[in-house]
Amino acid sequence: MISFTQGRFVKMRWMAAVLLVLSMVVMAGCGGNSASTNKQSANTAKIGVPAYLSGAGAAYGEAIRQGLELAQSEINAKGKIKIELIFEDTKGQKNEAINAVNKLINKDNVVAIIGPTLSGEMFAAGPIASQAGVVIMGTSTTAEGITEVGDYVFRNALPESLAIPNTVKKATAKYNLKKVAVMYSNNNDWAVSGYKTFMQSLKQNGVEVLTVETFADKDTDFSAQLTKIASLNPDAVMVSSLYQEASLILKKARELGIKVPFVGNNGFNSPQLMKIAGAAAEGAIVSSPWYPGKDDAKVQAFIKAYQAKYNKAPDQFAAQSYDALYIMVNALEKAGSTTDRKKLRDNLAQIKGFQGVTGKFAFDEKRNPAMEATVLIVKNGQFTELK
């Protein structure tokens, strides 16, 4: 026996809640319509791109999107094969990546997938694409064992297991390293993978590891770790992390008077490193297939076009995704079909001698890239080749 006024309030609240849900459903309906209006012609290849477009790592997804879109506009202008890109936001989460990949394969009927952004996402989504017989190619998934999850899983991201030994070897020889400290972000799968490779190649080069310090992605205070490292006087510090933490580490380290070289994994490989760390970035060393300073017409043209379109310098994520789409188109042309998934896979696996902005490229028998990396060092605020 609720009194009249109370009852009316209950009803109003109820209606407000229903309205909330209804409005969401209506919004959903509109979205569905706009998505289904896309039409395709015979020589259009639909390629799905699950990428980390919103959330903490959105910067990576954004660079990937821009690299792909630049390549798309160039390819479509040539006109032989037209590319339609369907982006899906994975928010860097595994379940989202699974849903996105499933949607792209089964609802949008894409011929291939470029993405997802993170190695962890690939570990979950790769087997699904493989099972469905759809090529899935990572442009930034550098962790160990990625392509082992399925026969249709490819990547054109230089695995850390190739890049880091290259860097460590060169740095050890150049600076005569005897004892080093190692730091890595221990909640980032990819950085942990890099750390493991660091430890292995340090061992191979006979370098002593004084201490291993960890931190987490998005940490901002590294003073405790670096104070400890400073007291041990290492010849160099190896860091496996994303550029954001790497830059802050460099800043703090220089503040605390650590002047030795810092050797990084792929995370160092970004213009942002110099932007955030400023002068503190001097002496940071990294291996990269992407080297903007390269004396190569293709590279310079890419940088120019990218600058013109997005008003900023491309980073490796943009470069690698740019190349990825060209590699994909190459294979599509050879396959002679824009819809045959199996043919595409077999032709993609045969790619050799492709010349992209990240250098000469081929897939090895495990669908990992065989490419060369240049060891770079930051000098006067620029990446230059370490010779």
């Binding site: 609240r13 959903a28 936001d89 860097g92 699974i98 394969i105 570990f123 979950a124 962790a143 221990n186």
Partner: protein, 321 residues
């Protein structure tokens, strides 16, 4: 049928079922008016324990999932005992902290493979497929491929789990214990003075919630090939909370509705993915301000039942003519 055979929709329905189980887990804890923000942590215990048991010890999935549940239940008991005597706020924060501690431990243990997570977990679909082909169904049946049958079986298993849990909740709700829980939720002190062992029931439901969350984790691990510490962070705990807040936590159908809506909406709202978190946040605030009991409450159910009852009465009255 085509709809449900499409792996994309199938996957979404499977995630709905997992989320429904998670919704039930928080419903159980909330049924004594306690808020646990650690359900993502319990979920990760379930996921890791069951994944490791399946991979390293070759245990059957059912056994490993249940072991995960038991492990989480024991952890919940350890935390619950000291904390539950305190105000509700303490449990919320302590469980929040617990989730973080579990995450850090998972990051540091060798057996959990740190941030790299565990990949190559045998999925239920693959295992069912294998078993089906062993009994001679390798070419499928009734126009369905082997893979499709296996997928449908997985879905059936998940729906069965949800059904069992719903049955459990409804039966408990309508029993002597359920009445005690409702009393505790309404007024803890009065309930205690009326002779209800409040601490016992609070711990019981907290642990049950943990067990159910862990079962969801174990099942999820065997759906997705890969688990990593990122899957069980704070945002996951908030998502689980959302199921109960949106759907309601008075009756078990509430969190189920919440789980269904919040799993389906992101898919239909893909174009608005960037605003999703913002919408989630807004839902929490708006629901608390205007309808804290959630979309479905006891009153709503009663209202719906009356409506249905009335229309049925009308039907029969017009029938004889």
């Amino acid at each position: 049928m085509d709809f449900i055979l499409n792996p994309y929709y199938l996957q979404i329905v499977m995630f709905m079922a997992i989320n429904a189980v998670l919704g039930i887990s928080i419903y159980l804890t909330l049924s004594t008016g306690q808020l646990s923000l650690g359900n993502a942590g319990f979920m990760s215990i379930g996921a890791y324990v069951s994944a490791l048991l399946t991979i390293k010890a070759g245990a059957p999935i059912l056994v490993s999932v249940l072991c995960g549940g038991v492990a989480a239940g024991c952890m919940a008991l350890l935390i619950g005992l000291p904390v539950i005597r305190l105000q509700g706020i303490y449990l919320a924060i302590a469980t929040l902290g617990f989730g973080e501690v579990v995450r850090v431990i998972v990051l540091n243990l060798k057996i959990t493979n740190g941030a790299l997570g565990i990949s190559g977990i045998p999925s239920m679909a693959v295992i069912f497929g294998k078993q089906l082909s062993e009994v001679g169904l390798s070419s499928g049946m009734g126009g369905l491929t082997l893979q499709q049958i296996a997928n449908l079986l997985v879905l059936l298993v998940l729906i069965a789990v949800v059904a069992v849990l719903v049955f459990f909740c409804i039966r408990v709700h309508n029993s002597r214990v359920g009445r005690a829980l409702a009393a505790i939720k309404a007024d803890e002190k009065a309930a205690e003075v009326m002779g209800i062992d409040v601490t016992y029931y609070k711990i019981l439901m907290f642990c049950l919630g943990a067990v159910v969350a862990a079962i969801a984790g174990g099942l999820a691990a065997h759906l997705t090939f890969y688990i990593g510490p990122k899957d069980f962070a704070y945002h996951r705990a908030v998502e689980i909370l959302l199921f109960a807040v949106l759907g309601g936590s008075d009756v078990v159908w509430g969190p189920l509705l919440g789980a269904f809506l919040l799993t389906a909406l992101p898919e239909v709202l893909r174009f608005a993915a960037e605003y999703r978190e913002m919408i989630y946040g807004a839902i929490l605030v708006v629901m608390m301000a205007f309808r804290p009991q959630g979309l479905l409450s006891t009153q709503t159910l009663r209202y719906i039942k009356e409506k249905l009852g009335r229309s049925r009465v009308n039907d029969t009255s017009t029938q004889p003519g």
